[in-house]
Symmetry: C4
Subunit: 282 residues, 4 copies
């Protein structure tokens, strides 16, 4: 009977950490969400020299608090899951580990600059929480529209790249090094800056011939911007129609997560995991 | 009978100020429209130093004239409405008050710089007048198309923000402070400038690795510009279809405004307010 | 019988100048087209100082040749039309006159700078010729799609303008004069540069608060770029459908032009002008 | 019988070089693809001065290796084709020759700068390989959508050009030479930079009147960006529908290439070339 008591304890923790249907689970997600956002803001503020000089001690302590909090959460996640290896090697398991380690590493090797990037990965953790929330349907549609037009967009991007290399080489030959077109890679970079209508202006043609070619590149870029838009637009419209059809036989999903295989998107009232067949807690 | 005489006076004023079906009401709206536009131009001109130095006295007097005119209008609006509290606490009531006060405040505390913003709020008043006019249908369609795609656009903007933070951090690590990427927030700002294809050029990558990453960011920005366009386009097309269907059972609306609850969009020939049941004047 | 001989002479000239169905009419249009393009290139080259210094004499003579050619054409157009007043006061009549006069005016008053603009108007004459040519259908569709979405685009542009004024005022208050936001009009100008994703970079925010607001403006600009695209896209798609329907009961039009009222777009085989009832020459 | 032995040798080589259905053919295409990409990277690296100074010898040798490899391939292509003249004068035949010659020319005349452009043409060879591969359907759809909207896009680009010339002339008159608007061609160039929302910022208006006109140009550019998008979008949507219809009576194509006339896109199981009637090898 003590066995049955112990299981509810872990099951309850599992419910709190991995799901969002109970009040405690929702509260946990909200706190985690705030902690993630705070940790990102800390990473940003630390990089601002004038701020770091003044509040270095505060930033250091806050970072330790966040790190310890994330460490506890990581351990709790491993404990409550039935198959820890599966969690540790999953995408979110790796992100969780990487989000926790930077401060420990800095303890060993000193404050390495590149650790900031590791810490920025914490942002990816936000997706885990958001996955469970309200915009699910909308983002699914976006993603499936993008997936459907992936091949066409690849062709398009490849064509843009080839255009950029050809025009970049031409601009390099026409403009020369005085205008900033110092090499073909730089010239190709400028060409993409122009084709995408970003136009920094750090490099700009100054010879009449260069300006004429630039004009052609710009009008071309302006023209081809229509292509990906047209593709996604058409793809999205058809997705929209399919979606309406699908809504008719839609089922309600809850935020339960299988304790064995981490599978999600279970039907409301499902008793067994649709991926591994283990029982779900009620 | 003097009672019935008194009511027509307030009712007539109410009709002039709040509605646009009578010639007097239309004239009032036109004058108000011109006054609002003039007051906005005054705010703008005052900020131009060379202009303000020359015509300071003229600007000051004009501002007083506008302020007094708006004050009278505000008082008239309160008087003619049956429930003044409802008007005062409504959105337009607050805008009207804020539009009037800046000059009085400057009298007390001197010409504070920030009052210009308060005065710019007057522009919002234009919407009240325009609400009654011709582009009603068109703008309603726009607004409802935007509303329908709100969730999808939120997902999209959130994704753009996360991309900007991740790429911004990477650019900060790659480029360093020489190129202007002085901190992660600055780097994220640059990243949004680039993703949206604005490209000021005040900050621009100079290292080959930075330019390569910038290229990826730009092409990405170029690619994802298609997404909101596709969303709105699809949403708008379906709105367009619905609109054609709806037009068949369309009713004529007039510009009457209930004197009790300020409700608008009454059907032509309606005798009672569709919101509070009070009688409308004929 | 001499009367009938004289009429064919003017009728034939009318056919050559105003129409494009005969070989002579086509030749005239091609020559005129080349002359117009040449005259535009001359205006451009004259403005390039280094070119004008070297070839001033050549440019001067060429300009005289073009001017005299256009003068003869203008006179011929007046002579061959039955109602010269109607032609002279028509849109193209005025453009034709203005295109001819600059050189004569410069003879009287010397080379005024602003005459270049007058000469650039010649470009508008190209439309007259193109009207008669191949892309007729395509451009008609474009124009009618734009016309149909005119009201919606007006609402949209008005909203953009109001956004620009409100955000421009805020940026002026936040950034101050050090960053180039010297006045509200300048600030509004910057705001439109940013909203439209042009981004010159001559003015750019430097304070963190300013950069944050700029970020919001940019993302907004990025979002609302979808709106006009969606409008035109939807409008154009429906135009496309209507066009296919209309093609079934399409009639062949020729390039004849009524010698009395200048009306065009006559049906193939029409004997009388559909506007004024005068007979058309066969 | 030796005759029948000799033919298979050439036929087999033809299959390897021109087709991609056999393992050897696929391997050849992959090696060629890598060689082309490497040769393009070499051209780029050679233009980077700092890199060229260090690794000049390595670049020189690599270029010779690539050149000799391409030469052998060119000769093999001529040998295996039944009608060499047809191949040599075809588009890809000329590209193949031009891709091979630059190094030989530099041997005769020394390292001419412009040869880099010739070498960049190698990139076009990539299309030959890609033609045979997976994105065939997607790119065909893109190309046919662009072709269908060619006339409309031409009208649009012509209108943009005329707008740019008219506004460019006006900006030249308003701004003058202090702001960088030194001539009408420069001004037109700036106008296209602005209309296409590229916005380099190397030239920017500084007078109030110039900034006002710039605002109009930008909003116009922002508005008309919707036009080509709408066109391609509508065209693409209808292409999409046609494509679905067409898929029902679709046939499987293989990558065989006729040894006589170089025609491709043969049906699976076809025995004779659909262009010249010669037998295809099985």
């Amino acid at each position: 009977m003590s066995e049955t008591k112990k299981i509810p304890w872990r099951t309850r923790l599992h419910e709190i950490i991995y799901e969002a249907d109970t009040p405690a689970g929702k509260l946990f997600d909200v706190i985690l969400f705030i902690a993630i956002i705070l940790s990102i803001i800390l990473v940003m503020l630390e990089s601002v020299n004038s701020f770091d000089d003044k509040y270095h001690e505060f930033l250091n302590i806050s970072e330790w608090v966040i790190t310890i909090l994330f460490s506890f959460e990581y351990i709790a996640r491993i404990i409550t899951v039935k198959r820890p290896i599966k969690y540790i090697t999953s995408f979110y398991g790796i992100i969780d580990l990487l989000s926790t380690t930077p401060k420990y590493i800095s303890l060993l090797f000193g404050g390495i600059h590149a650790l900031a990037a590791l810490r920025a990965l914490r942002l990816l953790r936000v997706f885990r929480i958001l996955k469970l929330v309200r915009y699910l349907g909308a983002s699914n549609m976006l993603v499936s529209a993008l997936k459907a037009s992936r091949a066409k967009i690849s062709v398009f991007l490849f064509a843009v790249l080839i255009l950029a290399i050809i025009f970049g080489t031409l601009m390099y030959l026409i403009e020369g090094e005085e205008s900033g077109f110092t090499s073909i890679p730089t010239s190709v970079y400028w060409c993409i800056v122009t084709l995408t209508t970003v136009g920094f202006g750090d490099i700009a043609p100054i010879t009449p011939a260069g300006q004429l070619l630039a004009t052609i590149i710009m009008v071309l870029g302006y023209g081809i911007i229509a292509v990906p838009t047209g593709i996604v637009s058409a793809e999205y419209t058809s997705q929209n129609k399919n979606n309406i059809l699908r809504k008719k036989n839609k089922v309600a999903l809850n935020s339960q997560s299988c304790a064995y295989c981490l599978a999600e998107n279970h039907k409301d009232g499902a008793k067994y995991c649709h991926q591994c067949g283990h029982g779900l807690h009620p």
